[in-house]
Each structure stands twice: as C-alpha cells, then as structure tokens.
C-alpha cells in the first residue's frame, strides 16, 4: 500500500510539473490531447508565470503595457511580427514599460495572464491572438480603468478597441507578382483552416493574379492546423506535384512551407513576418508582413495624453501598418515595376480589390456589379472566386 501511495505522489508531482511547463507552451492543435489534467488535479500554484520577474523600480514608468501573444515570439511568422510591433512602442516612447507574455494559447490562460499584468500595474493591454478577443473584452468590463486593444478583432466597448493591418490589398499585389512569375499558370495557397479571412486573402491573391494573367488558376489546400509542419510540407509537395510553381500561405509560421518550396524549386511568397525571406534565398518572389509599431506607438501616445478613444482601427500598407519584403533575385525589373504600379493604383483607390461583379466557383454572383465587398463581410467569406481550385467548406 505504501508503494502505491508513493507512486501516486510521484505521479501527481509529475502531472503538476507538466502542467506548469505546459503553461509556458502554446495550445496543441485542436485535434489532439483532449485530456486536460487541470480538471482532476487541483493545482496549488498559479499555472501562469509573468513573462518577466518583477523588479523594483526607481522611477515609475509613465505607462505599463501588458502584451500577450498566442505563440512563440521568434516564429518568423505572425507572433514575431506582433512582438516587434509591440517592442517598437518602448523604443519610441522611452518611459513606457512593457510586460510581455508569449505562448499563451488558451482563453483561460489569457484571462489569468492579463489579470496578472493588471495586478502588476498594467494600464494598457494589447492582446494579439485571435482567440483572446473575448477574454479581453470580458476583462475590459471588469477593469474599466484599463485600456484594451486587440489585434484584428471586431468587438468594441468603452475601453476596448482593436487595430490591424489591411492584408487584402497586399495580397492583391502579391497576386500580381505571382501571376507574372508563374510559368505553369498554377498558383498554390496553403491555408490552415477554411476561415473567412484565409479565404479572403486567397481570393485577393487570385484576383491580383488574374488581373495580369487571365489563365492563372489558384489552388487552395488546407492543413487543418496552424502549426503541423510535416503536414505543411506534405501539402506544399502535393501542390507542387500538381504543377503549381508559386506557393504562398496563411499559417502561423511560413518557415516549413517556404523551405519545402525552395527545395523543390518552386517560387514562394511570404506572409505574416518579413523574416520569412531567409528560408528562400533563391526562389523568393516577395512577401508582406505586419509592421504595426508606428500605429501602436500612436495609440499609446493617445493613452498617455488622455485622448484615447475606442476606434475600429484599420490601416494599410501605405500607412506603414504592413510592409512588403524586398523582391527576390529572380524577379525581373518589369515585374517589380508593375507590382509597384499596382500598389500606387490601390493606394489612390483607382483599383479596389473586391469590386463587383465577382462570381464564386459555381458561378453565383457574390459581389454584384457596382458593389464592393466591405471589411465586415470579409471575415465571414465562405466562397472562392471562380477559377480557383479547392473546396471552401
């Protein structure tokens, strides 16, 4: 009996240990590990640790910002782009102190992390993960003096607002580049899930491509995970074996997809972070990433001078909220010039990406003649443009 008791002690210590460690890691893919030991095992310690140890401050900072990310901040993808945007605030406004937490996957963990940050004196919270919107909104009700900003959300309240870049324009430009560079007239788009925004990005990419090359066909394939690298490699290979010669993606980290495309001699176009270029020294076309440092700095300054108001903030490539990576060595000057010309046309409003008439794969009119697809509809798109391959639902 003694031994059995000891075994359970060892086991529960192990469980608690793994829980603690797991708290610093991002969520598993939704398909796995439904077993949550937290349910059975009462944990004494708080599973979430603050990102940085508390330090005694000689001079109080003018504002403490708590920023939390869903994944690791060095992923050469979305989380890194967001991390660098947040870090820019402290570079631009010296008296601001930033408490940052990465790998906060779940809603419950996010709530605990944000409460922790607020108890450490955070007067502003920046939540960058898609699924942290509602936990943040809930806390915004509980802490009316703290200002909450969410990346890419749509909810608003007295002290809760959101900010984001406007990727469709950027995707359209990348489509133009891809449409010019492809030799097989087949483009591939690897997406994690058939979500509204992913489909919108793929649609914008395709519309850009057909605007310069009507024969282009864009194939969309889904991996059903934001970070299953092996499946991303499989998917990329499957597309290339179908004759695709330009690959782009909407997953968390583009590293595997771009490396795989490079090793197969297919062109790639990056998204999320400008760091993606390092994975394709030869077959890189270009890419776009989020550079929200300036916007966040401005938002912070309005918090500091007391003029902050909840606004639904969307800003474009030309406001500096997104940036384009340099062109790769194989992209001819004419193509580069054409992309820049399209950029100018988009900036001036002469070209609007989703202008009707737009037909879906079955030939139904999804955007009528004279209409334009608006931002609020883009997040719930469930169709692919005519001429694209793949099933959106």
């Amino acid at each position: 009996m003694m031994k059995k008791k000891m075994l359970y002690t060892v086991l529960s210590v192990l469980m608690a240990l793994s829980l603690l460690l797991a708290a610093c890691a991002p969520a598993a893919t939704p398909t796995e590990a439904p077993a949550e030991p937290a349910v059975e095992e009462p944990v004494v310690e708080e599973p979430v640790e603050p990102a940085e140890p508390e330090e005694p401050m000689e001079e109080g900072p003018c504002l403490i910002i708590g920023a939390l990310h869903g994944g690791p901040i060095n992923d050469a993808g979305y989380n890194q782009a967001m991390h660098e945007s947040v870090a820019a605030i402290a570079e631009n406004i010296e008296c601001v102190e930033i408490i940052e937490a990465e790998n906060v996957p779940e809603e419950a963990g996010a709530t605990a992390t944000m409460e922790n940050m607020i108890s450490e004196g955070a007067g502003m919270i920046i939540a960058t993960a898609f699924n942290h919107q509602y936990p943040a909104l809930e806390l915004a009700g509980k802490y009316p003096d703290v200002i909450f900003e969410h990346a890419g959300g749509w909810e608003m309240s007295g002290n809760f607002a959101n900010f984001f870049g406007e990727p469709p324009d950027a995707w359209y430009m990348m489509g133009v580049a891809a449409g010019r560079m492809t030799e097989t007239n087949k483009l591939g788009f690897v997406a994690a899930f058939p979500l509204g925004w992913s489909l919108t990005f793929a649609n914008a990419f395709h519309l850009g491509a057909v605007s310069v090359n009507p024969d282009v066909e864009t194939t969309v394939s889904f991996t059903f995970s934001w970070g299953d690298s092996a499946k991303e490699a499989d998917t990329t290979n499957a597309l290339i074996n179908q004759g695709v010669d330009v690959i782009t993606m909407h997953v968390d980290s583009p590293a595997t997809i771009i490396s795989t495309a490079e090793s197969r001699g297919a062109y790639s176009i990056g998204f999320q972070s400008l760091h993606a270029q390092q994975f394709a020294p030869e077959y890189w076309i270009s890419g776009t990433g989020y550079t929200l440092g300036g916007t966040l700095t401005w938002l912070t300054s309005t918090v500091l001078d007391g003029t902050w108001e909840p606004i639904f903030l969307r800003c474009s490539l030309w406001d500096g909220c997104m940036a384009m990576a340099p062109f790769g060595p194989k992209v001819p000057q004419e193509v580069q010039d054409e992309v820049m010309a399209v950029s100018a046309a988009l900036e001036s409003g002469e070209t609007v990406v989703f202008t009707g008439p737009i037909l879906d794969q079955e030939g139904n009119v999804v955007v009528a003649e004279g209409d334009v697809l608006t931002d609020d509809v883009m997040s719930s798109v469930d169709w692919l443009v005519q001429g694209m391959v793949g099933s959106p639902k």
Partner: protein
C-alpha cells in the same frame, strides 16, 4: 491527375512515413516487452526538439540525429522508472510522460523556433541525376530513409532471431516464466524501453531534421498516437509496420492530392480519411488481435518474491 502527382503521393508517403515507421518500430519493442507507451508523443517532441537544438548549435545534422536518438532512449527510461521500478499504471504514467513532453520540448525548443537549420543531406541515386528537377526532388532521399528498411529487418532479427529478442518477448508474454528461466524482467524491460525510445528518437529526428527542417511547438500533431495504432495494425510485427506507416502517410498525401486537384468534397471530410482508414483497419483486423498481442501487455510485473 498527372504522373508527377501520382509519383508525388508515393514520394510523400515515403518522406512522411519514415518517421512513423521508426516510431512504430520503437513502440513494437516497448510493447513486446509488455509495456504500452502512451507517452510516445512526448518522447517524439522531446527528441525532436533536442535534435533541432543540437543541429542548430553544432551545424551537424548527424550529431542532431544521434542526440535525438539518445534523448529518446533516455526519455523512455523515465517511463521505465515509473512503470518498472515504481510499478505504476502504464496508461497513467504514459499520459503523464506525454504532458511532460509537451512542456519539456517547448522549453528545449524555445530559442530554436523559426531558425533555419542545415538538414540531413538529400542524396541523388546514381544514374538518375539527369531527371527534370521536379521529378528528381521526389527521389532524393536522405540517409535515414535509406536506413529505414535495413533497420526494420534488423529489429525483426533482434526480436525473433536473437537470445535478447527471445528474452524481450518472453517478458512480454509472461514475466514470471521469464524470471524462472533465469532472466531479469526489470533489466530487459529497461533495455527494451531504451532501444524503443532510441527508435522513436530517430523518427522524430527524421521529421524535424530531414523533412520539415524547423521546429514548431507541438509539431508532432498526434503522430505518437498514430504509431500506437500502427503497432496494433502491424500485429506487433516489424515487417508489417512498413505497410502500416506507408499506408497512413500515403492516405494523408492522397487526400491532399484530392484537395489540390479540385475534387468538390469538403476538405473537412477529406482530412479525416487517414484516421478513418486507421479505424477501419483496426476494426477489420481487430478480431484476430488476441492471438498476436503480447499476453501480459500493460500488466504490472510485481516481481517474484
């Protein structure tokens, strides 16, 4: 569907099936010694992260493979301590090991996320060098792929043609009898777990160092559990594991081909094909399972005192 896309399915099946094969072989050895290792996912994650870390730090992918294998073996020994020495419940201990692996691998791999590494070199088969690049890249395999079949044969030989293998199987069937015949069940279980863990480590190393070439957290995506299912599929026999691994990863590649060729079937449904196939095979083969499973699989050996 073109010739390239059909060859592509085969190539993808080999590339992503190799890691599954090594992992399944490892689990076969564990289970032959009577231990169900449900912590395999954790073992894969820890050794994969270690492999990437060592490759990135030393610049030598072979060192990465070696360290992944050793760490895999060592991680399995933790399970050994829990279930052999401490006589814990195997399923609970395995799950604890898995959760431990989630955290530990995230910790090890933290500073290597998003880093580019030099993967295992891909070798061109002599005489095929003048194929068009798209085709050539399908058959440029790395050393671990070439070693997969010889390794499977070696494991078969170890299990069925050596005294050590006889000991492992005897312990898995009936540890008391094995003890009575002068073997140490504890020692043999530890040895089997170490070898099995090393094989799982090789599987993880292939996935990270040869295939995806980078580290993302939780990147194994349930492959550890698929390997456990494949052990049942292969009826605890190394040679049949080849079929299982190729079939599963072939199904993944095939459903991706269907997606990419514009079949109007919901991708949600297509994505479940490999798993449905696994379940189907388990149901069909399930009837005769009792005859091939090690008799004291999962049972705690309380010692002969």
């Amino acid at each position: 569907m073109t010739l390239l896309s059909i060859l592509g399915v085969l190539s993808s099946a080999i590339f992503s099936g190799t890691s599954l094969l090594y992992t399944t072989l490892g689990e076969i050895i564990d289970q032959r010694a009577g231990i169900v290792n449900l912590g395999l996912e954790g073992v894969l994650l820890i050794s994969g992260a270690t492999g990437i870390a060592v490759t990135s730090l030393t610049g030598n992918p072979y060192l990465g493979v070696l360290s992944a294998a050793l760490v895999g073996g060592a991680t399995n020994l933790i399970l050994g301590f829990l279930v052999v020495t401490r006589r814990g419940n195997q399923l609970a201990s395995g799950l604890a090991l898995m959760f431990f692996g989630f955290g530990a691998s995230a910790l090890i791999g933290k500073s290597f996320v998003g880093l580019k590494i030099n993967g295992l070199p891909r070798l061109t088969i002599p005489g095929f060098g003048n194929l068009p690049p798209r085709y050539l890249s399908l058959i440029q395999f790395d050393t671990l792929i070439y070693l997969a079949i010889p390794c499977t044969l070696l494991i078969w030989w170890l299990l069925f043609r050596t005294r050590w293998g006889l000991g492992v199987r005897a312990v898995g069937e009936n540890a008391d009898t094995a003890f009575a015949s002068g073997r140490s069940p504890h020692l043999i279980k530890y040895q089997a777990l170490f070898v099995g863990g090393m094989l799982a480590g090789l599987g993880a190393a292939h996935l990270t160092i040869a295939y995806t070439l980078n580290w993302t957290e939780y990147m194994m995506g349930g492959r550890g559990f698929i390997a456990v299912a494949l052990v049942i599929f292969s009826k605890w026999h190394p040679i049949r594991a080849i079929v299982g691994a190729l079939l599963f990863s072939g199904a993944v590649a095939f459903q991706l081909l269907l997606q990419a060729s514009g079949v109007q079937i919901s991708p949600f449904l297509l994505d479940t094909i490999p798993y449905l196939l696994t379940i189907l095979v388990l149901i069909v083969w399930g009837g005769s399972r009792k005859h091939s499973a090690p008799a004291s699989l999962g049972r705690v050996y309380m010692g002969t005192e």
